[in-house]
């Protein structure tokens, strides 16, 4: 049975464990140069928002699995002709793509695509809503170093309101038993966070006090001009993770960042490159969890090359 990966919010702890275990296994095999199950499928990489890192990561993942990637980016004419999203998706469906990896600036767009596509859709980031594979990469990174996520205190620091990474991470960590905190200025925090699984802090020091893990979020360029915060200096003074501030966290606390980093804004060099930082591991683990996601969505490997395919397979959300 095929299925979509649209959000962490809809997964249960068991499914998350499944994905993390798959990611871990794939990592072992790739690093040891071992045979990987080969999935002869064609996956469309549909990026309505520019992204080098996530797209390369998915392409690598597909490559390791023996899948073929076809790229569509918003700068190429294929996505720019004023076609509705529905029509774009239907076209890709009837061009017999087997799956879609999709990034879109509007929350909920991959869910809409899944209605019309007929094959698995993986959300590679939709608006402010979710970025499931990033959260999986972060979780794998944390688990490798801490053994278990249950009982950990994780502080997500920065512009939570505009962050899909914050949302996906909060859901995943909470579902696996972590204690989640959101830390950031009032104007960059959701106005009503009651349904989100995190406690809100506006003061950095109390927010990261004794935290086992800190996830620093990127402050986007737009925040500097849209009136929501004061100057960069003001933000950095209050929320930058640096050596001084790390003293408030638990000893040896892990520092994560989804990238790209604004050095000097949310992190200073010492923090980004220091002993607490696991940022490069996140990047590498991204490939393996994306392999897991692709595998999980297609469920079983199909060694036969081009078997005629009909769109009658039921797709689960």
């Amino acid at each position: 049975m095929e299925r979509n990966l649209l959000s962490i919010r809809h997964l249960d702890a068991e499914q998350i464990e499944e994905l993390l275990t798959l990611g871990h296994d794939f990592k072992q095999r790739v690093l040891a140069g071992k045979e990987i199950a080969r999935i002869s499928k064609v996956v469309g990489q549909l990026f309505f928002e520019n992204s080098t890192r996530t797209r390369v990561s998915f392409e690598q993942a597909a490559h390791y699995l023996g899948m073929k990637s076809v790229n569509f980016s918003s700068t190429s004419s294929s996505l720019n002709k004023g076609e509705t999203l529905k029509d774009t998706i239907l076209t890709l469906r009837y061009e017999r793509l087997d799956g879609l990896v999709m990034r879109h600036p509007a929350s909920g767009a991959p869910a809409l695509a899944a209605k019309y596509f007929g094959g698995p859709v993986i959300n590679a980031g939709d608006g402010r809503h979710e970025h499931p594979t990033q959260a999986l990469a972060d979780a794998l990174t944390i688990r490798e170093r801490r053994g278990s996520i249950e009982g950990l205190t994780v502080a997500i620091v920065g512009d939570v309101e505009h962050s899909r990474v914050a949302r996906s991470n909060a859901w995943l960590l909470a579902k696996l038993g972590a204690n989640v905190r959101f830390v950031g200025p009032r104007t960059l925090m959701p106005a009503h966070s009651g349904l989100l699984p995190g406690d809100v802090f506006h003061d950095l020091e109390s927010g990261i006090k004794d935290a086992d893990v800190i996830i620093a979020l990127r402050l986007q360029r737009e925040r500097m001009t849209d009136g929501l915060i004061g100057s960069i200096g003001e933000y950095a003074r209050q929320y930058q993770i640096n050596r001084d501030k790390l003293r408030y966290a638990a000893p040896g606390a892990l520092l994560l960042h989804p990238g790209p980093i604004n050095r000097g804004v949310e992190l200073d060099d010492a923090a980004a490159d220091g002993d607490n930082s696991v940022i490069t591991a996140q990047v590498e683990n991204g490939i393996f969890v994306r392999m897991a996601a692709l595998y999980w969505c297609f469920h079983e490997p199909d060694p036969e090359p081009t078997k005629p395919k009909t769109r009658t397979k039921k797709v689960k959300a």
Binding site: R9, T84, L85, K86, H104, A106, S107, G108, A109, A111, L112, D126, G127, R128, H129, E130, E161, R164, R167, P190, A191, H192, S193, G194, L195, L196
Partner: protein, 439 residues
Amino acid sequence: MRTLLKNGRILDPSQDLDVIGHVLIEDDQLASVGTDLPDDIDDVYDCTGLWICPGLVDPHVHLREPGREDEETIISGTQAAAAGGFTTICCMPNTSPPLDNPSLVDFILDRSASPEAGGVFVAPVGALTVGLRGEQIADLAAMKRAGIVAASDEEFPIQSSFIMQKAMETCVQVDLPVMAHCEDLSLSEGGSMNEGAMSAVLGLKGIPRGAEEIMVMRNCLLSLHTGCQLHVMRVSTWGAIEMIRQAKYLGAPVTCEVSPQHFVFTEEHVGEFDTHYKAMPPLRTQVDIDIMMQALQEGTIDVISSDHSPHASHKTQAPFADAPFGQVGLESIVGVTLSYLTHRGIISPLETIRKLSTKPAQILRLDAGTLKPGETPVAQVTVIDPDCEWTFDVNKTFSRSKNSPFHGMRLRGRSVLTFCGGEIYRDRHFSDDRITMLT
């Protein structure tokens, strides 16, 4: 030709009348209303168990013509109105081009009188400013002579208090009510649903309640200071309701309306980005609905209107933030209102009809909303079956557009017969054996 609507429950709020009786329509005029049985009848419609009301009045309808005839036309929209039980509707000025000049007013009046149309009265609402751009007051006096009954900034809410004050002063002079779209765009810009717990989870930019409340308050104050009659469209928050209550208490000539989606659904109905629930103003919370129910009971809310907003399906089958706001409503409003308000005891049948007919007619000075013979140009009568159980199927409606959140819902109560002059709509739920031709 004497047609008798026999033995129905006559509900006429204009006379505070709630009595079992008979209504006689002679040719196209309302001849008599009462408990005496007239003689010399040609046709009898047996209305036992049904309500006989003044033709319903919807002051807030989008007919989309000119400009978006793929979504609705004056013909299809008036047919939808007749099927919904309405004999008078007001069409909003945010067409393309906008209704800001007398010749377009003439066009609308001509089209609505054409034989293929639904046979209902269309009372146009003119644009307050030229092109709805919020800069220059439109030719309101000329449009009034041509036939507008009010002026509005619908879809393009006037942000400048200065312009709104000048517009209201002009409307006082020309004697037109203002139907205001109360929204502070600096707060609502980019938002697609209520700023609340759901928008935080879905990662959608929210529209804070202040966006509505600030402009409701501003417009009420301007109404108080200028003496301009103000009708606040589409109220959705308890704060806005409170502002209006205060304004009325202070003596401002203010009235307001709600649409059914705002007393039936909350932000939670958006669920997984379902664009059927993208409303303007956005669907709020249960607290707002509870206060709205109280306000309907005490009369702070004067009118229930549909804000019938047809949208093409290719626009609604889009990511939530990109989809348009609004739902169709002419053919579901009576069923939904009866099911969610009247049958739940929130408002009585007489009050229901007051809010769906008499009060909007009074506010807009329309010759409608009453069963007093001689007070309306032709007989305008709606017969409602209050107990008819049915499922609303948007695909069986006259409207060209099918964007309804009520599709598939079980409702109790519907309009079954509409007379505007003669009979303009008879629903299949009004069975043929109720009709007897005596001659």
